[in-house]
Symmetry: C2
Subunit: 304 residues, 2 copies
């Protein structure tokens, strides 16, 4: 089984792109023709089922269109969960669609709980829940997941153990939202809290290093706080960074200066709305607008 970090590095290198496309489907922003088509199928599919099928067609269209210009796909679990069981099934189809293009999937779920519960979350994301008879369940079959460090390292352990099975974990260090500083930048024993989290990541990730020299245990650090982002990189030279905050959230390429580390740069920059809803600014088909926006972003953050 290839390490997650190697699959991500190879995707970055083969596509010459450091873009991660976030799949955050919001019904009010989807193209009118798609909404109209599925509004006509509510009787057949149910309320939640019709939205979920609409999300599935939209997300597949985006992923098919951007597959050559992005390195990874990051579906946001929340947007699917709000449509219940059909939403969960649509999320599973998004993962499968990305895999048809050999794109690694980072499920953005920000999970974390005490040990036995984190093990169940890992089974949901990566597979492995026991069946009544026969093989364990496949789960969502994602390649990596985002996790929250607040509960401490024993809560992360069940996710990390999956690195031996080719999976990856991105631990929240310094997030991109405005209120992130209220706890994460707080001075704890002389250093900001997020650097205690990077200590944890460095310690836990040291045993999961792939052939490209990157750990399967990465960090989330937002481009909206460039000084902190640089500090996370300095603390974690061998980790992949998942960098949100680009595009709609306001950060530009200047936030990425000096961030490269290793043969595949060691980071992916996520953009969701500015790619998947690019048709709203650019007009035309949502798929070709997404492909054009993703290619521009790839070039803006530096082609290879």
């Amino acid at each position: 089984m290839t390490n997650f970090s190697d699959r991500l590095a190879e995707s970055i290198l083969s596509r010459r792109s450091g873009v991660c496309v976030g799949i955050d489907p919001d019904l009010s922003r989807l193209p009118d023709h798609l909404r109209a088509a599925y509004a006509g199928r509510v009787a057949e599919l149910g309320d939640a089922g019709a939205v979920a099928a609409c999300f599935s067609e939209f997300a597949s269209g985006v992923i098919d269109a951007v597959a050559d210009v992005v390195a990874a796909v990051k579906p946001q679990a929340a947007f699917f969960e709000q449509y219940g069981a059909p939403g969960w099934e649509a999320l599973r189809r998004v993962v499968a669609c990305a895999h048809e293009h050999d794109l690694p999937v980072i499920l953005d779920a920000k999970r974390g709980d005490i040990g036995s519960t984190s093990a169940a979350y890992a089974a949901a994301v990566f597979g492995g829940a026991p069946a009544l008879a026969g093989a364990p369940l496949p789960g969502l079959a994602a390649d990596a997941v985002t996790v929250n460090p607040y509960l401490g390292d024993d809560a992360l352990a069940p996710f990390l153990e999956r690195c031996d099975q080719g999976k990856g974990v991105f631990v929240l260090a310094r997030t991109s939202n405005q209120g992130a500083a209220s706890l994460q930048e707080r001075d704890c024993d002389g250093r900001p809290l997020y650097l205690h989290v990077t200590d944890m990541i460095a310690r836990l990730g040291a045993r999961y290093v792939g052939a490209h020299g990157y750990s399967d245990v990465g960090a989330v650090a937002g481009a909206t706080a460039p000084t902190s982002l640089a500090a996370v990189r300095a603390a974690l030279p061998h980790a992949f960074l998942l960098v949100p905050g680009f595009g709609a959230q306001g950060a530009g390429p200047e936030a990425l200066a000096g961030l490269a580390s290793g043969d595949a740069r060691g980071y992916v920059v996520n953009a969701s709305r500015s790619i998947i809803y690019a048709w709203r600014e650019r007009g035309g088909d949502f798929r070709s607008a997404a492909a054009a926006a993703a290619a521009e972003m790839r070039d803006a953050i530096g082609g290879f």
Copy 2:
């Protein structure tokens, strides 16, 4: 719409119980006769569907049996999510079953993300996701949810806004697991991190106070760290505390000394495994064993 905190207070007072029963279904611990019955239905229901139906019957049996002796029900989302769409549907049925007994449901999901994503999680848990035509979707229809504070107060805001609609939020302050101390007890500007979280809870919860004097914004604080639990109570005299760590996790009634605040005591103590799997120790029917274990716990933590 009655405040969540008032519904919880009235449930505690009318049942004379401060017990919250955690619904954490683990296939390997379920009664043999249930597993055998649903193993025979895999062809009909599918692998995940058969487990989900088995969970549903088990959870309903427990809830029906303990409904008079517990104040609230806390399903753990992870255990259902690992069975995908059928698991999610089983979780929805667990909420509905608790509501048939007028029991408030605290969904233990430990969610938290940037604002627009937290809003989608709130829609998943409480309802409100837009449909293609007609009324918004009902979601899981839980009464309250556990949330993670690491992202800061703007990430909590979309959950808190639901307090105006009769919902409640429990913010993780000091969790019950062994590794909790690694971040939560760290000295930040002269005080442990979890007390900065209680500051946030006090500030955010002040505007959501019900007729019994409790805020709809509570805190999670584990009985396994009694000194920290007491400090959380001192910092939040008007908050409901959700106290895990009792029973299988090792804490006993002595950890609760001095914790009472207000007319309904202001806390519920959660136990999962020691109640729902009581039949494994006591023998007999899983339902009557759960009822007996819950009643004993009610008395151990102090009847009213």
